[in-house]
Symmetry: C2
């Protein structure tokens, strides 16, 4: 897309938009810093800084000049690609322009403030410390959603911030299908008396696990000149196609958790790194929303990282770094245990995971609608845990305080985790059809063909296509949970001899 054959208004619009993106990405660096390296006492200044960046970005996206360029670009003769760019920018403008800057800055400042309060509340297992902050953020987010669309359901408006091109009804359908299909399967597994291997019975130091995390990333092809590995209380990945970082954390009794989270965050980072560099700052250089993002992390975590073929040789790295002596089959069983009594979402297996999401979705929906009081969250959380998984957390730290999302003000985010998981299965099915011998490649630690397929079908397009368009191009089918349900059923029936 050269300046020569694109309308002036389009070029001018894109320049402004890129500037806004760069400021947003700068805020991303500040957020990484806050979660990974910032000393605690830095919070008051950091809140001001991130809030000022939110405001500056908002100023650009809502300026009269921006709107004029946008209107003129829409009236100009555009290529399909340019039209897609303008579609994305229009959507962002419409949402931004409706929200007053003061509210944007306030949300940014309050979420920055909330982070240390959540950490403290979690450390002290005290929901009451965190509750006022949740109340404030809910109120601000309700206000935010009301500015964007006073007619629409609050949850629906917020959900669209994370997944712009799938209706909330699709998410609701998927969650319902998952509940209906997985609940009986989980019950069956519980009753089955298969004895899966639990080969890790020692203590595994942070240093050894860090080495393993590094080896894992190298094995998968993570480029160390475009990323880095750190530890953080809540693993995440962030960055741009030039610098996509990952974090993990360690449980000294259970190294499987960190292995999974490293491969998961690698999947996110590899998507980010696959976005076209020459489109940095434009919608064509941006990810297609959280469903697709999560599909990439889940594809690597579950369909690669939890597969028997991958683990058959990868186990050598584990044995080298942790000083263990276990087999590929043992690691495969350890990585695929289904634990209905697990309390922590990010440590959940592929099946119960979705129960954790359904619980959060229901609680958030009721919090936003006002049907549920913030003070009652612990009670409702625990009741739902009992209902869906048959287990009640002893503490709120292991219950409603476990996730960082509310401290980030991210209400409406959770369903994209389930959507991403099901999309991962659908995409992996398609990749398996297209790549001959994929399974033995995974066993051999050969990931080039899979990387290429994902880059070709997903990464390189940025936000060129809407979510469902992208899925149809890559798989030939509409977005659906079928592949996941079929995959889960086959895999776990086999593992548990059902």
């Amino acid at each position: 897309m050269s300046a020569d054959d694109s309308p002036d208004a389009y070029d001018s619009l894109l320049e402004r938009y890129k500037r806004a993106t760069y400021i947003g990405d700068a805020a991303g660096v500040l957020s990484w810093d806050q979660e990974v390296v910032m000393p605690e006492g830095g919070t008051p200044a950091r809140s001001k800084q991130t809030s000022a960046l939110s405001g500056a970005r908002h100023d650009i996206l809502t300026s009269d000049e921006f709107e004029a360029d946008l209107n003129a670009a829409e009236d100009a003769a555009l290529s399909d690609e340019q039209a897609a760019v303008v579609r994305e920018i229009r959507r962002e403008f419409d949402r931004a322009a409706k929200v007053p800057k003061s509210l944007v800055e306030r949300i940014s400042e309050e979420t920055s403030n909330a982070l240390p309060i959540w950490k403290e509340a979690k450390a002290e297992d005290d929901w009451e410390t965190f509750a006022p902050q949740v109340e404030t953020l809910l109120e601000l987010k309700r206000e935010y959603a009301n500015h964007i669309d006073p007619e629409a359901d609050t949850y629906e408006v917020l959900f669209a911030d994370y997944e712009p091109w799938l209706d909330l009804s699709v998410a609701e359908d998927v969650l319902e299908q998952l509940r209906d299909a997985l609940r009986p399967l989980i019950d069956d597994l519980n009753e089955a008396d298969a004895d899966l291997a639990t080969p890790f019975d020692g203590t595994y130091s942070d240093d050894d696990q860090f080495s393993l995390a590094e080896s894992t990333l190298e094995y998968l092809g993570y480029p160390d000149d475009h990323g880095r590995l750190d530890t953080a209380p809540h693993p995440f990945s962030s960055g741009t196609q030039f610098d996509a970082r990952v974090t993990t954390r360690f449980d000294n009794e259970d190294p499987v958790g960190s292995i999974g989270s490293v491969i998961h965050e690698f999947g996110h980072a590899t998507y980010t790194l696959g976005l076209p560099r020459e489109e940095y700052g434009t919608p064509l250089g941006q990810n297609r929303g959280l469903t697709v993002h999560e599909s990439q992390s889940r594809l690597w975590e579950n369909h690669v990282g939890r597969s028997a073929s991958f683990l058959s040789n990868y186990v050598d790295l584990v044995n080298d770094d942790l000083g263990t002596d276990i087999s590929g089959q043992e690691l495969y069983e350890a990585a695929n245990q289904v634990y209905p009594d697990n309390l922590i979402r990010v440590e959940a297996d592929e099946l119960t995971y979705h129960m954790h999401i359904i619980l959060r979705f229901e609680i958030e929906r009721d919090l936003l609608s006002g049907e549920l009081d913030v003070a009652d969250v612990p009670e409702v959380w625990n009741a739902k845990m009992e209902e869906y998984l048959g287990v009640t957390p002893d503490t709120d730290a292991e219950g409603c305080l476990q996730d960082i999302h509310w401290a980030h003000g991210s209400f409406g985010y959770f369903p994209t985790y389930s959507l991403g998981s099901v999309l991962a299965a659908q995409l992996f099915d398609a990749a398996e059809s297209d790549i001959e011998g994929l399974d033995s490649q995974l066993a051999d630690g050969e990931f080039d063909a899979l990387h290429e397929w994902l880059t070709e079908e997903v990464h390189q397009h940025g936000a060129r296509y809407t979510t469902n368009e992208l899925v149809k191009r890559a798989t030939g089918e509409e977005f659906s949970a079928d592949a996941f349900i079929e995959y889960a059923d086959a895999k776990f029936s086999d593992l548990y001899d059902l």
Copy 2:
């Protein structure tokens, strides 16, 4: 300064100004990240991000609304403190408003690009790789200075970016006095045959030196909830009164270098941390320019850290962390060796240091005026090293490529190092008069009284007073090099038995 008794225009001005400061501080975080943790491949995105922040900050400081508020505030009835705030903002506005935003962004982007090129050139000892970048930055900085004051000398305009309230002629006088006083002293020391102790003859690992750096910071009272220690190729400190970080680097043969740099950066950080928190974002919460900043680092590095009394007990930390067994007197002698044959500015002793500055000052002045070609810098550098210190670097890596400043586009910065050093002596003299038993406090590792004195006399005022006003209030005298020259003469005559 409450909203109740301050004029509306003043309040509005301050809100805008704070927003600009926050964005500038966000850029500071990005710069820390780039120098300390960013993977190399992140540069292209980082350049865009920092440039966008420079532009956003510039937009605020040069907006019509900002100018209108500034004019109105100047016409309002202001307290002395408010008048000082407006004086600082006016100065910044005048400089910013004259420079086109495109130039600001271009400088920011080019300096961000220059950093990896400088690193590469230094690693490969190849000035030619870096030269085109220096040429570009010189041209941009000439243009920049010309916008600010087309009548004035380019160097003078750039110098005022770092030290706004002392004339360049003061710097020139000081440099001349230092040359005149120190050259003969250095010659005398060279001829003296005092045999100072060189107790470090082993190899000291990065890990041990890192531990020592941590112990040193703790000993000095550096608060770990408001700062952090990392390594960087070029030690620096950065941050705000909430989060002031330091970096160091290690020479495995010579631990004295890192000890000095840690105490130096601690001095900077402790100034930053002493700025009033409630004034964060306003001129009253900002430092008083680089002369005063450097006076704080030099005071701690030289007048505390290189003193016999401080080292007498501090040596225990060294012995503990490095596994050595040396005496306080040996460490004192090791920390105060004068090495005219040292090539590296940041490793220079208190005397030859200023020769390094004079050399850079002369080269930069001639580069900016066009009298010196960029291609000829290595030759002129080496000739001046021979002239001032009697030694010629073997490589440009140890010569004209050693400093990061040009990669930052920081031309005109170096004289503040010498100004800061002489001010350190002047302030320390005053502190010694005011604090009874300071010397034995330093021996005992008691720094509270000195911290309090510096906070009271320097830190807490932010940019409330001009440089010379601040000096007069703290010391009762005009800014002068006399105290330093007297101090250096006495100390080194004694050490070298002159």
